[in-house]
Assembly symmetry: C2
Homo-oligomer: 414 residues x 2
Amino acid sequence: MRQSHLFTGTRREAPKDEVAKNASLLIRAGFIDKLHAGVYSYLSLGLIVFKKIENIIREEVNKVGGQEILMPSLHPKENWLKTGRWDSMTDLYKVADSSGRENALAPTHEETVVPLVKSFVQSYKDLPLSVYQFQNKFRMELRAKSGILRAREFVMKDMYSFHTDENDMHNFYETMADVYRKIFDRVGIGHITYKTYASGGSFSKFSHEFQMVTDAGEDTIYICDECSIAINDEIIEVQKVCPVCGKDKFRKEKAIEVGNIFELKNKFTEPFDFKFKDSDGKDKIIQMGCYGIGLGRVMGAVVEASSDSLGIIWPDSIAPFKLHLIDLSGKKGGEEAKKKAEEIYTKLTEKGVSVLYDDRNSTAGEKFSDSDLIGIPKRIIVSQRGLEEGRLEIKDRKTGEVKMITEKELFEMF
Amino acid sequence: MRQSHLFTGTRREAPKDEVAKNASLLIRAGFIDKLHAGVYSYLSLGLIVFKKIENIIREEVNKVGGQEILMPSLHPKENWLKTGRWDSMTDLYKVADSSGRENALAPTHEETVVPLVKSFVQSYKDLPLSVYQFQNKFRMELRAKSGILRAREFVMKDMYSFHTDENDMHNFYETMADVYRKIFDRVGIGHITYKTYASGGSFSKFSHEFQMVTDAGEDTIYICDECSIAINDEIIEVQKVCPVCGKDKFRKEKAIEVGNIFELKNKFTEPFDFKFKDSDGKDKIIQMGCYGIGLGRVMGAVVEASSDSLGIIWPDSIAPFKLHLIDLSGKKGGEEAKKKAEEIYTKLTEKGVSVLYDDRNSTAGEKFSDSDLIGIPKRIIVSQRGLEEGRLEIKDRKTGEVKMITEKELFEMF
């Protein structure tokens, strides 16, 4: 993509009311825009990253049989009365039409997915099954201060699984824990993300959440480096040792939850009387699990985890582009370099390499600082002086390492 | 995809309160589910069709330089007060949080996109530009009776273009009319969709809408078959002749609007004081256009236009699968046919052909009626008797034409 074609640009400053590092950097780099507190737009570059995260999640959940659907946001009040959450959920947005009919603006989709799946399931032969979607969620956060880590409106991958018994539910729950492990590895935060033991497990003693270590985190976790797991506040108060190895050596860190997996059991199937006919001919209640990842939260977490004083440092897997090609031909006498930059851009694009090409009439300083802020993994500089030596400069955004390479070497690398 | 893996199935009947043909067929065939009046879920098969429509639209608008973004649904009241639509738009959902702060639940996005684009545009050099998104819209339809043709919540491709002057705006408007022509051709309704002249053109005498001929339509259009255009009620009353050829021979039809293009001029840029510095150094107001297509409406319109008494007949371009492979091996003695069906499914899948494979233990009658209802363009039947003759049966859903072909011929076709 030609940078001159992008309608967005970088900004010197984020809005004054934006205190979160993730949103500040993403706004300054032109990935997102703040509409009002806790509500953001994804701009061209941001949407590319967003879709890459979405595709990684989709690939991994499809592998374990997830079926993608799309459920609506306007839910009838009756479904929420059935589960008791119309009154109990404090961050639920309620919206009425002019005839007085009330709707919940969905913060999660159990109230919709249970009656939907119920309408198709009769017998044990129809189970297990799991469905998921990428859909907006609305949560009434009164003090939204964490940028896209905790928004009032955000897209979530929410998955729901349905089982004949608790054992099958629990096995799938463990499968999903592995799926989440892979997803966090692939988006580049696996090394700082811990399966964290929490209280309130409905099947085993523990429930689990995935926590990423970051100063921006709202939670505190205690990491057992021996086992690469963590426990949360509640657990450490009760048992004081690692539930895996039994040792009591922990590293205390601030962290943010980047994914959750729940054994819901019959919590939502019971209110909707969702039963199936088992192989013994008896009607039994369905067991259910649910599994959530917020896409914006993952994106924000990556930025919290991977940036420096100059800007964002994207992991390869979700970077908006593989290469940032910079035309440094300057205003005068750089015709040859300009021509060469265009030629390289065309060739790379034809080869299918994703390139952001800075073809703008800006100063070298502006181009470099924008490039650092945007954070594409590799930068190629085409300058008149380099060309005279038959060389291009390639720089690694993360390590800062600079090499001079020939054009031939460039096309061998990409 | 194996049909046995789908958690959905066909239904004998649509909900009793569902009067629209499009929703009835799509619900019975397992493409969508009705949550409540005017609000639907897209199920596995429906979401595949939905994404195909989305991709066709994306490809065509990208060709004319559209930049994809994603704006939120929760809009601050202030933006809607600025344009006057907080009070004037009767189908606007309003939602307040517990602190009393009010939001509009976006039925369209001018109130968001104008201040967003304004923050990046200073001079004539930044123009023209166009941005678009695929995003939920919410409209308070009190009597939602047209299925997915007119829903209370629906995904729309909404595009907004920004220009230095009316002439540039008008040229892009004409470009978008051509883009819409291509989109409707590609989704299979081009031959019954007419660019329809309406009153209230802000630049020329006319505005235009794209109307598809259907008995389910709410509008009446007058088609000039000579010019392949139409005029609406208002126009025929005023001028009684075709605005293109001047003749007065019309075919009167019921129709539904499947796409709209508007010359907004300064209607929304003025309230936000969105100006640019022109090449003459003067600050001028930006001219704007907008262009909408509802994805569900297109899907519903295709179903209204293309079905028979047995079910849906999908056009190739947006069919959920290219082929419906039916294993008709039966319960006994069909081992060879079963094995052959599995083998053909594997081979086609490896070749990248999209196949729905009916591997269920159902009767031939059930499989055939489900297949007719689902409406995949070609059906391949693998039966024991056919195999003994070395033949497979291939049936065209639209024409009903049946041919006996060899396996070799099948793999030459797909």
